[in-house]
Subunit: 341 residues, 2 copies
């Protein structure tokens, strides 16, 4: 039988009240008695039954997901994964809502974050680029007692409680390795594109790519990253120029947002070239491209896992419970048509 607070009280030779005071960090306990209780806890290996505690407390967790607004297929998949996880029993006793912020405008982000009802907010999962303003807002949220996890993009300087997402450097390496193997024995260059290099994700992926290519596949040259800030014309033009300029273009690596534009341009500019294409993120667009054979492989972080993991971690933080790391590890998945799900 697992020990209960009653057992602790008996073992420590104190009353239930005192045990409660110690366990819940209330004041007015003499150090000697506090030690006795802690000793008893250690000796008996007591762990609080969180479910019973939550029942008694009528505990409800209040979590908010902060996502970037604007048209972005990947963010949409994240949002629906959050909603789905919220509906399932995973989020027992949790109220979850999603708010959108204009990530491009740091001040708007901060304004929105500060307008959260910090009074009864238990945790926040934030997907946004790290700016000084965001950092401040996070400090503000944390000082109000809520936990904060970074979602998808890490916020390394913001003292978040956790990061939920993949290691983007490794993701870039993975892309490089795929390209290198798909182009076994071939020589040529690789076009690298993304919507924007301001997000650290793209930067890290690019580093990973370069590292692997130069170390393991020096016969392949990655061209300078093309950024196409939501501008279809620009990418089409650049792409055409690049294809014309590099007769030895062998592959395309689409590093993240903007897959749709990229693929459109590719369809128009190089329908007959036999290019290897690797992209990121599983969305309706990339899924279809995979099925159509336009993309060879995509590198994926499972959004369902992201959402569930963020929720579990926030909850564990609130309960002051340990995190089951093995479960929370977000994997870099490689998806081809055959293992598409």
């Amino acid at each position: 039988m697992k020990p209960t607070v009653h057992d602790i009280a008996r073992e420590a030779g104190v009353s239930l009240s005192t045990v409660d005071r110690v366990l819940n960090g209330r004041a007015d306990v003499r150090p000697k008695n506090a030690e006795r209780v802690k000793d008893a806890v250690r000796r008996l290996g007591y762990v609080r039954d969180t479910n019973a505690a939550n029942l008694a407390k009528k505990r409800r967790y209040k979590f908010t997901f902060v996502l970037p607004e604007g048209p972005n297929h990947f963010v949409d998949t994240v949002a629906s994964a959050v909603r789905e996880a919220t509906d399932a029993q995973v989020t027992d006793r949790a109220d979850v809502d999603i708010i959108y912020v204009n990530a491009a405008d740091p001040h708007a982000v901060v304004k929105r974050l500060k307008s959260l009802d910090l009074g009864r907010l238990d945790g926040v999962a934030i997907m946004a680029p790290e700016t000084p303003q965001v950092r401040d807002a996070i400090a503000h949220i944390k000082s109000a007692g809520a936990y904060v996890v970074a979602l998808v993009s890490d916020l390394p300087n913001s003292r978040c409680d956790h990061f939920v997402g993949i290691d983007n450097f490794s993701a870039g390496q993975t892309a490089g390795a795929l390209l290198g193997r798909f182009l076994r024995k071939e020589t040529g260059c690789i076009l690298v594109a993304t919507n924007s290099m301001v997000s650290r994700d793209s930067i890290e992926r690019r580093f990973g790519l370069d590292e692997v290519l130069s170390r393991d596949f020096p016969r392949l040259k990655a061209l300078p990253t093309i950024e196409f800030h939501d501008d279809p014309d620009r990418i089409r033009e650049t792409l055409q120029r690049s294809i014309a300029a590099h007769g030895d273009l062998k592959a395309v690596y689409s590093m993240g947002s903007g897959n749709a534009i990229m693929l459109d341009a590719l369809r128009q500019s190089a329908p007959d070239r036999d290019l290897v294409v690797v992209a990121h993120d599983l969305t309706s667009v990339t899924r279809q491209a995979l099925l159509d054979g336009e993309v060879d492989a995509i590198i994926v972080q499972n959004v369902g896992h992201l959402a569930r993991s963020a929720l579990r971690i926030l909850r564990a933080k609130c309960d002051d419970a340990g995190i089951y790391e093995a479960q929370e590890q977000i994997r870099i998945e490689i998806i081809m048509r055959e293992n598409l799900y």
Copy 2:
């Protein structure tokens, strides 16, 4: 506020006792009242608080994992994943143990399965090839009221409550697609090996492989499957013969158990040949081979996920709760050195 049994009683105009009788399927309730209660449940959208119920019942779940005995790295990883999941909070209120059976001896398997204390067993996860004897034993377990899930290998004719594992046909297709892409524009043949084709996993993987190769990569020919029943000499010999006979041998596909033997033989027989190697299952052996560059990619079903999923599903069955399919989907992962975890 979520409705409670008290709300149901009030809404239905009956007593708490009657609500309890209906909800827990006890006898002696007039149909009219039963209907009233069910109506109230529907109207208020009542869902039982499983945690509170388990608390009141002092519920403990008793689960048993049945794994094949004998030296097998993959099974070892499954076992330790089960132990790890059991230690973590995932298996709150569950007692889990692992028993090993000699899968090659159907009668021994059955004897072992029948010796389980069915009295207070709530669920069983079985990893074993399906034989008529196993089928009977499962029927026996189920008739005692325990739930059964098939683990890793499906048991399609055994009326299990669930299958936890990957679709092996798709896994074979994935292997084929990888090989086809790694050998873009090349022509030649592929050596396919496994320890034994009696398990349906290998058969299905082989089908998947053949399907993809013949449809998408007809320039690649897969040789007849080599089975090497735990016999290092045999595989070495066969491998040497195969390498000698097929000057155009380009790749090796190791379909499952026996990776270590396979890799040993490869090291001895063809150290200088630039072969593409794809294998299954992440074990200490394949991990090292990946790091050493001996294997290009491995196809993995995450054993941590397998273990947790089996436990969650068994528990959901016991609670008569719904299964959150998206979470329980075991993915076919492709692991290279760069996204190794």
